[in-house]
Symmetry: D2
Subunit: 282 residues, 4 copies
Amino acid sequence: MKKVGIITKKGMPGAVNAVRGAVKSLRKKGFEVFVESELASDLKITGYQRNDIPAHAEMIIVLGGDGTLLHAAGLIGGREIPILGVNLGGLGFITEITLNEIPDAINKIASGKYSLEERIMLSARVDRRGKQVFKAGALNDVVIHKSALARMIEFDARVDRREVTTLRADGLIIATPTGSTAHSLSAGGPILYPTLGAFVVTPICPHTLTNRPIVLPDKFILEVSIKMGDEVYLTLDGQVGFPLKVQDTVKVRKAGYKTKFIRLSGRDYFEVLRTKLKWGKR
Amino acid sequence: MKKVGIITKKGMPGAVNAVRGAVKSLRKKGFEVFVESELASDLKITGYQRNDIPAHAEMIIVLGGDGTLLHAAGLIGGREIPILGVNLGGLGFITEITLNEIPDAINKIASGKYSLEERIMLSARVDRRGKQVFKAGALNDVVIHKSALARMIEFDARVDRREVTTLRADGLIIATPTGSTAHSLSAGGPILYPTLGAFVVTPICPHTLTNRPIVLPDKFILEVSIKMGDEVYLTLDGQVGFPLKVQDTVKVRKAGYKTKFIRLSGRDYFEVLRTKLKWGKR
Amino acid sequence: MKKVGIITKKGMPGAVNAVRGAVKSLRKKGFEVFVESELASDLKITGYQRNDIPAHAEMIIVLGGDGTLLHAAGLIGGREIPILGVNLGGLGFITEITLNEIPDAINKIASGKYSLEERIMLSARVDRRGKQVFKAGALNDVVIHKSALARMIEFDARVDRREVTTLRADGLIIATPTGSTAHSLSAGGPILYPTLGAFVVTPICPHTLTNRPIVLPDKFILEVSIKMGDEVYLTLDGQVGFPLKVQDTVKVRKAGYKTKFIRLSGRDYFEVLRTKLKWGKR
Amino acid sequence: MKKVGIITKKGMPGAVNAVRGAVKSLRKKGFEVFVESELASDLKITGYQRNDIPAHAEMIIVLGGDGTLLHAAGLIGGREIPILGVNLGGLGFITEITLNEIPDAINKIASGKYSLEERIMLSARVDRRGKQVFKAGALNDVVIHKSALARMIEFDARVDRREVTTLRADGLIIATPTGSTAHSLSAGGPILYPTLGAFVVTPICPHTLTNRPIVLPDKFILEVSIKMGDEVYLTLDGQVGFPLKVQDTVKVRKAGYKTKFIRLSGRDYFEVLRTKLKWGKR
């Protein structure tokens, strides 16, 4: 892993200085660095389009919050390049270190003192009149949601071609273990331990109150067909959006590739939960 | 109450026959009838614009589901004309009778054998840079919601000018007792007994899990200011939509007028809950 | 209000010194003080049985947490003597000041710089074969609960003699607005604003998932009849327990008296919610 | 599988006739039948203690509801004898057929037309001062619960010796996929697909509202240590009870054996959910 790409949160204040520091530390250790064009000119180095960076790199450092990291995971897709998430503010669910820990982290990586943690991703495709019209991957979640102005949507859910139910709701979240602590949790879903081979299907504001979150083995394929609903959208990791039409079918399954996080700290998953969910006291 | 307006669900199959029957029954009892233009020509009587009907009538019969009834309540607004809700399908939360019970209902009304049940309504107004840009009423609920493609919204809530909290969520529902069994219930809100002088503020998918539904006396004024969020909409009773901008303030209070339902059956509220929520067995 | 009773949490460390300080401050301002026997001997003053203190006092200072305050409210019952709650640890939902604020608080009270905040209480009675076998009041909640070893209980609920439903659950909480942030909140109930004229009925682990919390006007009487269940108990404010038998009927209504809290700080209710529920950040 | 034990719900009306019919059908097909003593005398055949039946049998027919079936699964324990669940009332979550389907079911079994469905079980043991004082298995759930009269309990949870959190709650449910639709669902837990290699840890009325259900891989060992709480009990499948003391540690892990259900009908799991949870309409 001698080629390192750096992806930075758009409009992040102090980005130039942060990246300059990281580049310096990386070069000192003999890494080749690939930086986005916006920052490269300030740093007087060659710049690359963000989307092209994963093609050049063997490892990606992400400066930003969980959102930027999700975006980077989407760009990396099937390349399975390890990601080091650097949080700018407080601790994130999936970011690993904070800004001032970068030099130390680079030293550790250079001397092989890290581990890789794999997380499953979801793959979602949309079929319209028998033809695939959209396909993309997600690390956190695939969400089907009505527009703010539309009434409820109605859809049929099937698992491995078996009928589950006809559901009327504001939307539906299909979340990986990684995404179980994000949107799905807010909608009433459970926390899934990161290594669990499963995804959770969580309805948003279901009309039928007994439509509860259901956790399925990740070998299953979930199919959702839109039966009714004027303006329905598919979003992946809260970032990529695609408008759905009545009779469209969304197929969600485990992706053929994983996201790999670089782990340095030995910070335990339950410690993250305790901090982020403020366990300890009410 | 000798002047009766009839409002019918748009595109309802069999509407002409249903209305013809109702008109016949009403005229036999000496009522003057006001019908929408679309149906009037078939019935060979004078027709009116739907929006104008409340101005002519002393009572409104609504043929449709709870949705059409909500729409009619909005049209009636401050006129406080009594409504008789006629459900086309199964029992509704707020409709009173079914189609074939119309003749009997008209007899009862003609001989004064009915009671009026009052329900509070909400009034919502939007202020933008100190100026009111929108105002309307709602019988069920006022909803502030992000678009399907947008990330979470952030807003400040105040009650009677006192700070409540800064909230990050997909949206916020302010529901009357009447609306407490609709969208708010799906979002995790409680049921409010219809005559309770209160409204419930229910967050939709709140980022902070301890942001729970809160029931407030209906003399309070709730103010919500949009702090962050690209595409945010205000909807009333799931029907009227208005796009909100950052820094807009939405003020929600009890309306100065009420909706009045004509009650004939003595059907008890808890019986409605048992039927609609399928209590009795799991 | 020149006669002040002091009630202290049992086994509270440092109680003698805390009470000594309070007694000194009170006497300086000309108050007559009534203290429990356990502490009185250390203070070399006349002591009283805890249960007798309200009969002597015109005001009660409670040193302890929300639990001790609930106990004191129960002792005071219909006497409606104002209570000043002093929290030993962090901020409580209903305690008003902390230990070191006592002298300042006494000065304010002596010079009339305080307000009284009234909270409704519940009255619960148990009828067995047509005869009343138990009666007591509660400031927070009345709970009907199965024993840990028993299976689910089944009971009929009626409101003002109208059937609500037959419920199968682990238990049922009837909470005042004051109690809505305690056990009921943990069981999924909403927050009720303190001045709301209502109580909330929250099922604990209901077999039927659509049995949701319901908020009722406080003029209603709730009747719960035990139909099935081996070991069922009634508890008030988590303190008083009474074993129920099959066919017993528990009647819960608003008590004829209120609890009066002395308010000094102008601390707003929403500020308490923000602090106790950790609103602000996830 | 030529030796069949029959276990019947205690006090079940019509048990003698039901068992007589089953015995007749079984013998016609050449099965040897083992029946409980209470019923055997009426049937004029040799009877056995219920607890001894699994030792004689290669297959168990259970007449009763899900409760009786859970009891039978507990008796069978590590023997892994296949169970055919016969429901007396409506459809159960885990029972397979109804009373009048017995003869047909026996024919199918005799001719090998059945499949076996394996379900994981939990094993719970209690350690007190370093010594094991209790051990048993559960098909549905292991529940730690305070008594009805006690205040909240406080316990520490660890997973594979890693600290999870200190929890204050009424109780804690550890449920298998099979048990996820029972008590855990009522307490707010998700549905786990039956073949998922996981269990769910669901708090009952947690003091900290962010203590949400968490789904863990079934290779993990959950350890719960009681820190505070006067009367705390451990129950398995709602049947076996054991009183816990402060400082006791409960260890819950996947049992080394499974429950095997005989499946005849091809009834799909989602069909069971739709029926039992009344999906389809609100």
